[in-house]
Symmetry: C2
Subunit: 179 residues, 2 copies
């Protein structure tokens, strides 16, 4: 497969934003031709599936600007920096968004949201043995918390009602692990 | 939930690329404060889970520049325009990348890869009753085709070996539907 590699000939930083950086790379294709790659770089993120002893999933609903509406999702957030420990970030986001503290965190794998143009990696965790304190959302974060039985959430996903990628993947993974 | 809505105060087009557009929006938060949203706009995409009569999934392996390595994925591609019929795009990508023609296409729902900053929607389809002709990859597309039994692909996902979001979601969905 090594003959599939694209060699970088030029790297142009188009935009250096608060969250993302946009690069335009000039690459040499395996056939020697030149092509361009518009790549969005992101510090990385985490998501957490908080599962209660009653097999309920703690979800959040929040307004998502790109879609102009409120979506149901798992608690999640971006890393403060690419060097931040993802497990610590997952514990922080879980506590800030839902008030939950997990006695046990189980790594569920990585999720690459959109592999052609975006280098974001969302690390997924299962949080169990939960206890609850106060929520502490970010200043620009407005969300509702709700509990949905895991089986019902799977049914919503199979009906196409949950669109968020990290939520679909992590919920279906945990459900498959319980079989 | 209507009090969660963010009102757009300003829309600055940072970059108008071949695939993506990057906007920086100034928004009014529900609490009246002002915030910025860096949003990547994308024409939309499709992915296809081609399932043989032997319950094998036809996957592709290709170099993904953002990660600098070859990934195993379902066949997929972006819409030629936001107005293109996703089902037609799915049939096209399936044929171009794998040579397969589906007697039956079943819609599996939408996937929003990264809801905070990215408006891409990947429509997912299950392709069955397959027949096979010639592949016809894009000029800048280099890929290997492989068949993986559905059960084995699920096991790879549960072990964290498949990272691509659309592939994890669509495979786990179809596996859950077969239970």
């Amino acid at each position: 497969m090594s003959d599939f590699i694209e060699k970088t000939l030029d790297d142009q930083l188009i935009y250096d934003g608060a969250v993302v950086k946009l690069h335009k790379y000039t690459v040499a294709l395996p056939n020697g031709k030149t092509a361009y790659r518009e790549i969005v770089r992101h510090p990385g993120a985490v998501c957490v599936l908080p599962l209660t002893d009653d097999n309920e999933v703690i979800c959040v609903r929040q307004f998502r600007f790109p879609f102009g509406r409120v979506l149901t999702e798992l608690p999640a957030g971006k890393l403060d920096s690419p060097d931040e420990d993802p497990l610590e970030a997952a514990r922080r986001e879980l506590r800030e968004e839902t008030g939950a503290i997990a006695g046990k965190m189980t790594y569920l794998g990585d999720l690459y949201p959109s592999v052609a143009i975006f280098d974001e990696n969302i690390r997924m965790y299962l949080a169990t043995e939960l206890s609850f304190g106060q929520t502490d959302p970010d200043d620009d974060e407005f969300l509702d918390i709700l509990r949905i039985p895991l089986d019902e959430l799977v049914a919503q996903i199979l009906r196409g009602e949950i669109t968020d990628a990290k939520t679909q993947t992590a919920v279906l993974k945990v459900a498959a692990m319980q079989k």
